[in-house]
């Protein structure tokens, strides 16, 4: 098999021998480049937001390390299990210490750990950053459903258990989420965003999502919250900005009409007032 890109026919002026050398040298590089493009997923998905993609790459990095170390250790275990089985009643050499070896397997893991930590910090800082934006959604979790409020837009989406309330958000924009809970602790988890965050009573949790793909994604409460925890679903619909604005205004008009109808009717879920939370302070 000749990779056509490497030896374009009739173009090369070089000698066949040089071509062969070049081809041989190019092979491992090509293999590496190929591998670089198709690093295995290790079971995860790139997801639909910018941070989900960096989390995915971090996942791949951790997984490569884990697989390498895991295979190495497994081979060592298997080697000793297979080749150092009892063959005689002899007493083997009673070796107990090998300081250079012990130092090696102390220091190398420390270096690996610091490498992992630095990679973690890079991704983490991207993920917890809260850039300013003018799209904000207040998400309130309650037993057992979700309420999505679009502040200043007069739009509220609320649904319980299998009603699957839908959170509509625009693509290619920073969307600021204010996450609260009305009663117990819930978990706001969207698998396609590779992200989850607790909805805590009394705490305002803030984070930013930047979706890059449109589509509908499933979300679910992940933190045990009582009887119908299993059914606390929601969906996230990522749409283009124009569609988002259109959806907002249609919802707002409908809400105005609705409000005129039953001005006295109130939302059933009581919202406990939350105090703003400084993210690295005390209580």
């Amino acid at each position: 098999m000749e990779p056509p890109a490497l030896t374009p026919r009739g173009v090369s002026q070089r000698t066949p021998r040089w071509r062969r050398v070049r081809r041989i040298a190019a092979l491992p590089i090509a293999a590496l480049a190929l591998a670089g493009c198709t690093v295995p997923t290790f079971g995860a998905v790139p997801g639909a937001t910018t941070s989900s993609k960096s989390v995915y790459h971090l996942w791949q990095g951790f997984s490569i390390g884990a697989v390498l170390i895991g295979v190495l250790v497994l081979l060592l275990i298997l080697w000793s299990v297979i080749f150092h089985r009892r063959k005689s009643a002899n007493i083997p050499k009673q070796s107990q210490y090998h300081i250079p070896l012990e130092m090696t397997y102390t220091i190398v893991p420390i270096l690996i750990v610091f490498g992992l930590f630095v990679a973690t910090l890079v991704v983490e800082n991207k993920e917890v950053a809260n850039p300013t934006t003018n799209v904000t959604i207040n998400v309130n979790a309650f037993q057992w459903g979700w309420k999505f409020t679009y502040p200043d837009k007069n739009v509220v989406v609320v649904g319980q258990t299998t009603q699957d309330p839908v959170m509509v958000m625009p693509v290619d924009t920073n969307v600021h989420i204010n996450l609260t809970s009305s009663d117990v602790i819930h978990g706001f988890y969207v698998h396609a965003f590779n992200f989850s965050r607790y909805a805590l009573p009394g705490v305002l949790n803030q984070f930013t999502l930047f979706a890059v793909n449109t589509g509908t994604y499933n979300g679910q409460c992940t933190q045990l919250c009582g009887l119908y925890h299993s059914l606390m679903f929601f969906r996230v619909e990522v749409v283009p900005m124009t569609q988002y604005n259109a959806w907002l205004s249609s919802k707002a008009n409908a809400a105005v009409a609705q409000a005129a109808e039953n001005a006295t009717k109130q939302q059933t879920s009581s919202v406990v007032p939350t105090k703003p939370y400084k993210s690295q302070g005390g209580y």
């Binding site: 971090l58 951790f62 884990a66 250790v73 150092h84 070896l101 949790n205």
Partner: protein, 573 residues
Amino acid sequence: MTDVLDPPIVPPIVPPMVLAPIEPAHEEQHGPTGILKWITSTDHKVIGMSYTVTATIMMVIGGAFAEIIRAQLTTPNGTLVSFAQYNELFTMHGSVMIYLFAGPFAFAALANIIVPIQIGAPDMAFPRLNALSYWLYLTGSITMLSGFFVAGGAANFGWVAYAPLSNSTNTPGAGADLWIGALLLTGFSAIFTGVNICATVFYLRAPGMTMFRMPIFTWNLLVTAILILLAFPVLTAGLIMLYCDRHFGTHIFSVAGGGVPVLWQHIFWFWGHPEVYILALPFFGMVTEIIAVFSRKPVFGYKGMIFATLSIGALSLGVWAHHMFTTGVVLLPFFSIMSLLIAVPTGIKMFNWIGTMWRGEIWFSTAMLMAVGFLVTFLIGGLTGIYLASPPLDFFTHDTYFVVAHFHSIVMALVLGGMAGLYYWGPKMTGYLLNETIGKIQFWFLFIGTQVFTLPMYLLGLRGMPRRVAVYPLHTSWQYLNEVSTVGAVLIGISTIAFVVNVAYSWKKYPAGDNPWDGQTLEWFTTSPPPHHNFYRLPQIRSERPTWDYNHPGHTAAEHGHHHEPHDAEQLT
């Protein structure tokens, strides 16, 4: 069938050189027998046996809950149990396994029997306190399980009891209070055991048994005991606060009264993460002993192993909030680096275990098979644990089946280690060996079952299945993985049955002798089972392997590349 009766070469025990310092006067005492002996005995071996049997029964009960949970999850809309029952089941599965099986089995069952003998002590330092520990543990177990028989059912807020789900509004009823009461009892039981082990190790060692000659199992139990003393009082305090919130109108964990729900998580995990090592370290110790004995070598890197254990103990107090990364209110980098650093001493242990097997003469008895099964399973659980120390990856997998799979790999590794311990020390405790063929059948069911059970759960988590759900959507690929996992759970169940069958089948069938495995530490120097105050005589203690030195003069441990001349005169004095 009888390759168990294929012991290594053990030279005949030469007559005792030195008599034990303890008077063997009331060896043949005619104390109470039967149930009265069980109730009144303060002998650490009797208490240890009570612990072992009770904890094993708890494992079977918790395992039965697990089988029901797995059966429910085999189909997306399982109808075997209701949502309410499901919540009770996984709460009690977790609680029974953590509080009533793994913990007591780790630091009170085998430890109670083995630690005093390994350091040449006649008993635990406080025998009556030791007995009290057991009674608090037993009554605590009864208290927790009786939750199923009260109106409203057992506790159903998960084994972590997160506030405010655990308050009196969200979970009224006696079941939750019984759960709290049970943890108060077992918590004090654990604290007393911790005190006892510390005092025993510090004050009752035999002459010559310096700290750096104690077997790794005893060292691990010492660190475990220190961790118990650091961690359990915090849990007990938290439980009292929770009880006050539920019944006395305080608002420690409720927002409405100005409390902080996250405070419960801080308190709980400040106990909960050291607890993970409280569970794990004793099993690490068991496996270390077993690997060394069956490889016929000293523990490779003995001192490194001790420092690794101490480092795990030291770091364990600074990692609790990695359970709380997704709360958004904890200091992410601090807990991330602390948790990642735990991987270093754990890795050292792993390499030391391999180094111990390396160039040994490995005898694959059931105990050793279980220990190797532990190594492989623990490797998987340990490596996946490193992911969870990274906050971004934890955001991604938190409260999904990935986490469930991770810690089930770990705890199933501990079960393998515990089984290794039972096969290894069972003969010392009872005087009789277990059947090796049934033991090996049990091992393969347990080992393969564990992997078939946990590996699909990793994928389930990565595909987004949250934990603690009784039903799941139809439109996903989760059902197939759940089915595979259930098959694994059934295999583990069969292995448990094999164990029970083995105990029944081998009942007083294969006399063990004093030293069936050519053991290295002091417990193999005494009789099986040991006499009332453990020793008729003690050998001279000149290394961490006194029994080995006694039986194999001329084979003392050597630095790499060197071979010390045996000090016969010193060996035998």
